[in-house]
Amino acid sequence: MELLSGADMLIRSLQDQGIEYIYGYPGGAALHIYDALFRQDEVKHILVRHEQAAVHMADGYARATGMPGTVLVTSGPGATNTITGIATAFMDSIPMVVLCGQVASTLIGEDAFQETDMMGVSRPVVKHNLSVRHPSEIPEIIRKAYYIASTGRPGPVVVDIPKDMTAPNERFEYAYPKKVKLRSYNPAIRGHAGQIKKAVDMMLAARRPVIYAGGGVILGKASSQLTELVRKLGYPITNTLMGIGCYPASDKQHLGWLGMHGTYEANMAMHHSDLILAVGARFDDRVTNATEKFCPGARIIHIDIDPASISKTIDADVPIVGPVDAVLKEMLALVKDSKKEPDAEALASWWKQIEEWRAFHGMRYETSPDVIKPQEVVEMLHRLTNGDAFVTSDVGQHQMFAAQYYKFDKPNRWINSGGLGTMGFGLPAAMGIALTHPDDEVLCITGEGSIQMNIQELSTCNQYKLPVKIINLNNQALGMVKQWQDMNYESRHSHSYMESLPDFIKLAEAYGHVGIRIDRKEDLEPKLKEALAMKDRLVFVDIQVDRFEHVYPMQVARGCMKDMWLSKTERV
């Protein structure tokens, strides 16, 4: 067997794990590891400008590909800078491994230079964390970290690596384990057959069914199974913000997404349904509105890989714990074999009702002859990119407009921080995708507030030639905050204005990129086309949009699913 130092074992383990890219930033406690990186060229390292961005890059890559992302940082401030990124990945169940340097094991507990208890600090926001106690453990720990991160309900795993574990002068036998043994970790591999049967019987007997799909369908790579089942049944489907793309948005059975800023018809259909099939969704408060008023007439079937997601906020009548793809496949087989068919008459009248709701509102906004509306920018981008781009976003009104007006027909294309709502996510996430998808269009639809939270990454984009198209929906305000202040605080705009904005064009140019400003409506289409035509350049498109626009529909706080504002003046 080969003899390798801890640092070399770490890098070899990454190679054997098939890791192509890692994102990171060096520092004292990680220097042995960085030296090992230098002496090989299989694992490529991307040097960011802030560790938070490294985590979002790994995250964007993971969301687009379904593969775990990898981050490498030093101890202390390097490690603590990753926390927001890790929490973002944790809330959305994104597979990722974060390798953190640590002070030497002999110094731990002595308040050594750049010592932070990363095991303790990260504990509440990781799926698991592991600490290296002997260099010879490294291959097994790395194998375990990837295994835990990417199986069951995925999530981030932190590995804490004291500096002496990677010392170059001590060598150990290297072998990368083929299998992982973990007696205390056994994610479900199939759903309970009896429960699945019961669920199918209920589904076929339903009169006003609706399918409610979440990010778990995308994480569980179950879009095709879901689509097939939904088409076979002919039932309406809605999905969460995280589930966007799990079912084609252009299909007529799709009602758009649901919840706080969901469509009128999706929220109405949920509220009036008699049966909800929840797939890989978690009844989060941005979906349910007041839980005690949630869908009073509905029985609920809930499929999830994580038992703790079931009956957490809303009780399930039929819980099914298992991987969504396997469970949906079994359901489809049962539906096909069943002698029972959905009640055609009931279904027809249910669809008639839904079509009335759709006709009553649908997605709409008021256009203006001279002011650029953020919604129309997104619609135009959808048209100009044939609905086929990867779209990352930040947090705020622009995020909601992007999700509402870019119609995604494929999974893994809508990339946003849904659970934590992290401003600053969009640009680095787009970078992670652009790096590994050179032939695809990657848009970052952002706001002038959010983009400034990781703007330094324009430098990284220059170094690695990442041709992201940044679409800055510039409303000169922390728009979403301002909207809440308009609605709940009599328009007292406490600190929601963005004063002293930089000249984004000059800023982009200073970083070596192209900047385009759009402030006249007639320039919108030609200049967007011009930006998109620059295939190998990063273009920062700064668009002056309506400063007073609100996002609608918006659920009325503490109401039920169907209590919504449809515009500034219409409430239903």
Binding site: K127, H128, N129, S131, S184, P307, A308, S311, K312
Partner: protein, 163 residues
Amino acid sequence: MRRIISVLLENEPGALSRVVGLFSQRNYNIETLTVAPTEDETLSRLTVTTTGPDRVIEQITKQLNKLVEVVKLVDLTEGPHIERELMLIKLKATGSQRAEIKRTVDIFRGQIVDVTSSVYTVQLAGASDKLDGFVQAIGTSGVLEVVRSGISGIARGEKVLSL
């Protein structure tokens, strides 16, 4: 309702802090907590007592099970079980109090395990309400110090919590 949840945990550094952290992060109660290694040195046995509505208790067991280092757990209060707590209590014992205390200790089947001219140290094991009853019988004015172990529990009959 009060629940006693018994957990087999990997005997690893940090595993206990994950369990304790989970309770505070998710706003669950901990009334008592005991932990010690088992006959299999790779495992610890942890007993936690908590209270909450059924939905919360269900979440607690599910969230505990989700921790990678939790191997197995059981809610002992779901079936017949035995629960015990150990108390060491230091009492003021002078003059006529000494005989009185001795009698009360006998009634509760405790033992006086240390004696000085003015102090008795008493050891008492049993269900928690029995320990409460003893303290009440003695009267708080005579109590100098109380140490309670927290509850340990085991299922009755054939049922065992093991690998």
